[in-house]
Amino acid sequence: MPRDGELRGYLRQDGRKGIRNYLVVCYLVECAHHVARAMVACFPERGVHLIGFGGCYPNAYAARMLTSLCTHPNVGAVLLVSLGCESFDRAALEKAIRQSGRPVETLVIQHVGGTRKTIEQGRAWIESTLSAMEPSPTAAMATNELVIGTVCGGSDSTSGITANPAIGRAFDLLTAQNATAIFEETGELIGCEHIMAQRAVTAALAEDLIAVVAKAAKYYATLEHGSFAVGNAEGGLTTQEEKSMGAYSKSGSAKICGILKPGDIPPTGGLYLLDIVPDGPVRFGFPNINDNAEIAELIACGSHLILFSTGRGSVVGSAIAPVIKICANPQTFRRMAEDMDINAGRILEGKATLDELGREIYDSLMATAQGKQSASEALGHQEFVLTYKYFEPAGPSCLPLA
């Protein structure tokens, strides 16, 4: 097992350290997507990742997300690709990246003179910047500098008894060393908010935890998207609180230190809840349209790496941060072994205990933090999605340790 002190990170100007040193190409409207993708396609397996926002109309959430992602510790340089007439404030984004100490360039397709010229200029900038990034200095990185997010997707009846509680054990190992761990999906916590609130570090935060779950319940009810279904009882789940506990068990047993909104950087080590449900009335549709929307938000909060629990067999990875797949179901694992990092289904076959799997997940994430490719990284997965949302800033009681 890697010990504290054996981990090295890319030191950034804000003091945070990255476990990867990626060059990010970011399109600022769908109209610039093809041009940006064509640049990235020339640099396979050289750590050049594509992200972007498709919308033409301005959105404060999307701007904050791209600012957080372009200044993420795993990112070493950024190329912005603009069509020219979209609403996105590219100057503000470029300024924020420059102030973070990273090399940055903006190419405006309408100014450069069209598709081909922009792709050529972009490729040249990427090539020279990659060369300049080669000898990036690293520094010793302590375990308590790691930020780890968790998400579940493609769940089945095994998720809540194998992979999720095993991730909870790994989270306990992380938070015991004052690393930062983030769990999310308040819509999946309906029914256990009072249990969760007992773990809050302050009474005011306990009230906030109950309130964010109530917000999620109301939001999903308006979308006519209930949580407990007939199929859950057929799979052996009896109550809403039992189902929610299955998802909630990813959080482990540490005290909850605060509630984050997408883009908030956790102010301390310990366990945080990410509130992914928008504020105000329902607008722009579902809170998150797929698992990658949630992964992007965990990364925007500074997550270096994502622990992804799946029963039915998701294959996704992500731009910017490695994704480690913890497969809950042993049959799924055998069918899709190349896509999976950990077989938590061994619990169902009596071949491992939850504590052993928690340690295995911890060891796997430490090895990945030291540079080993996760299964989804090795297969080239770099999914990314960003949609319109609306958030209000978190109140002071949500971050009592700040």
Partner: protein, 107 residues
């Protein structure tokens, strides 16, 4: 596991639990060790379902993941299946939904 002997087909998620989860289908009439006690199942227990690991009295909490997931609606004996027929949710929604016709389900 630190528990007294429990059948390998049963999974305790937390030491405080009074139910365990079947990680294999267990037929009716199977002799099982649960926390050192020997019981014989009185129904089929499908994979993923819960079995009482001690006697649970009416209105007592059913504990899984170390927390209450609801209450017994009648006395439940060790080794019995625990599901909709003998327990219920204690969850009382703390939020209210405005009854607004514009949000009424379209069916």
């Amino acid at each position: 596991m630190s528990q007294p002997v429990t059948d390998a087909r049963l999974l305790f998620l937390n030491p405080k639990d009074n139910v365990c989860t079947a990680i294999a289908a267990i037929p009716d009439g199977t002799m099982l060790q649960i926390s050192g006690n020997t019981v014989v199942t009185r129904e089929n227990i499908p994979l993923g379902f819960k079995i009482a690991s001690c006697n649970i009295g009416t209105a007592e909490s059913v504990i899984k993941y170390g927390v209450s997931i609801g209450s017994a609606t009648r006395d439940i004996a060790i080794g019995e299946l625990v599901h909709l027929h003998n327990m219920r949710s204690d969850y009382l929604p703390t939020y209210t939904l405005e009854r607004d016709e514009s949000h009424a389900p379209r069916r």
